[in-house]
């Protein structure tokens, strides 16, 4: 007899296990991501009765967000650092994607953390405003406004950088040659 969670819980884990890894690796190093993933599963298991069926994936992202914040301000970070200093080889760094679109990377980086995060949740995790609301624990209306403003700020930053496509269109390198 082995530990057997109910099928709906198993299905949820199967659904979010990959996305949660991406979420965490987008925001932290490999070691911390691995630790936090375990924490998230513990919370999911313990609080499975609280998981809203209609927003289960976003709920899990919200848990991951909280667990990651805990890990980053907790003593574990210190231990991780000590461990690294001790000898363990450093985690493989993620490929730097800024080269793909330097103007956009720079514009994104110039935004406040809050705006940047809402844009990442939208573009990287591919969440809707109401899902973002669930992750950030705000009302759908607030999330919608926050997302809208973040997009506008990003476009403004692109304009400031004279990005030929401040509206979000891919940069045409040839046009850059012709100011």
């Amino acid at each position: 007899m082995s530990v057997t969670p109910c099928p709906s819980f198993q299905a949820l884990v199967a659904e979010v296990y990959g996305p949660l890894q991406r979420y965490l690796r987008r925001r932290t190093d490999e070691d911390t991501a691995a630790d936090v993933l375990g924490d998230v599963l513990v919370v999911m298991w313990r609080r499975q009765a609280d998981i809203p069926p209609e927003a289960s994936v976003a709920w899990c992202y919200g848990v991951a967000r909280g667990c990651l914040a805990n890990a980053q301000r907790g003593s574990r970070r210190h231990l991780t650092l000590l461990r690294r200093l001790a000898a363990e080889p450093p985690a493989e760094p993620l490929a730097d994607t800024a080269g793909e679109d330097p103007a956009l990377a720079e514009a994104l980086q110039s935004l406040a953390v809050r705006d940047r995060e809402v844009l990442r949740l939208w573009a990287w995790e591919q969440l809707t405003a109401s899902q973002i609301a669930q992750v950030l624990d705000v009302t759908p209306n607030a999330a919608s406004i926050r997302l809208h403003r973040a997009k506008e700020k990003l476009k403004q930053e692109l304009l400031r950088r004279k990005d030929p496509d401040a509206s979000g269109h891919p940069v045409d390198r040839q046009k850059e040659e012709w100011p």
Binding site: R25, W45, T97, W124
Partner: protein
Amino acid sequence: MTNDEHLRARLGRLDPMPSSRPVDPPTSPRAQDLLERAMLTTEPTTPTAAPRRRLALVAAAAAVAVVGAGAVLATSGGSEAPRRAPTTLALKAAAGGGLSLGSCLPFSVEILKQVPVAFGGTVTQVSDSAVSLHVDHWYKGGTADVVTVTVPAGPSTDGGSDFATGKHYLVTATEGSVNGCGLTGEASPDLQQYFDQAFAP
């Protein structure tokens, strides 16, 4: 495409973890291990949402001192990844978790083989509310140095703890519940032999 969709796609190209980059699949041993650990280190807050499955087995090894039947893993830290510091696994006896002899299947090594958590340990402390065991050998499912079993306050149930300080026990647990039904007990040559057989590498 709207401007928004273009912006989203453009931002997507900055994603350091695009879907083209592989991650550990949910069917991997690592995923199963993480999940099992999660389930062993805590219990769902609403039992009705996730009914605990106890091994409904008793009887055969009735001679073996049976530990509180419905003990439940309660806190985290015990069987965590080796890199973590905590080495205590806490178990909490479930209220009313009694041993019903009628609900046990005959003991067998085959059943023992299937439990996810098994260790041998010596009781270092017994109080009204808790028992501490120093683990001297993990057969399966954990790495903690110390396991504590908390017994519910109030009138004792028929699944009450049978641990005595200084004695050596062989303990198994499934999905948070310490197993009775002969699958946990004071170490006897017979039980030791069953454990050795069941968990032989």
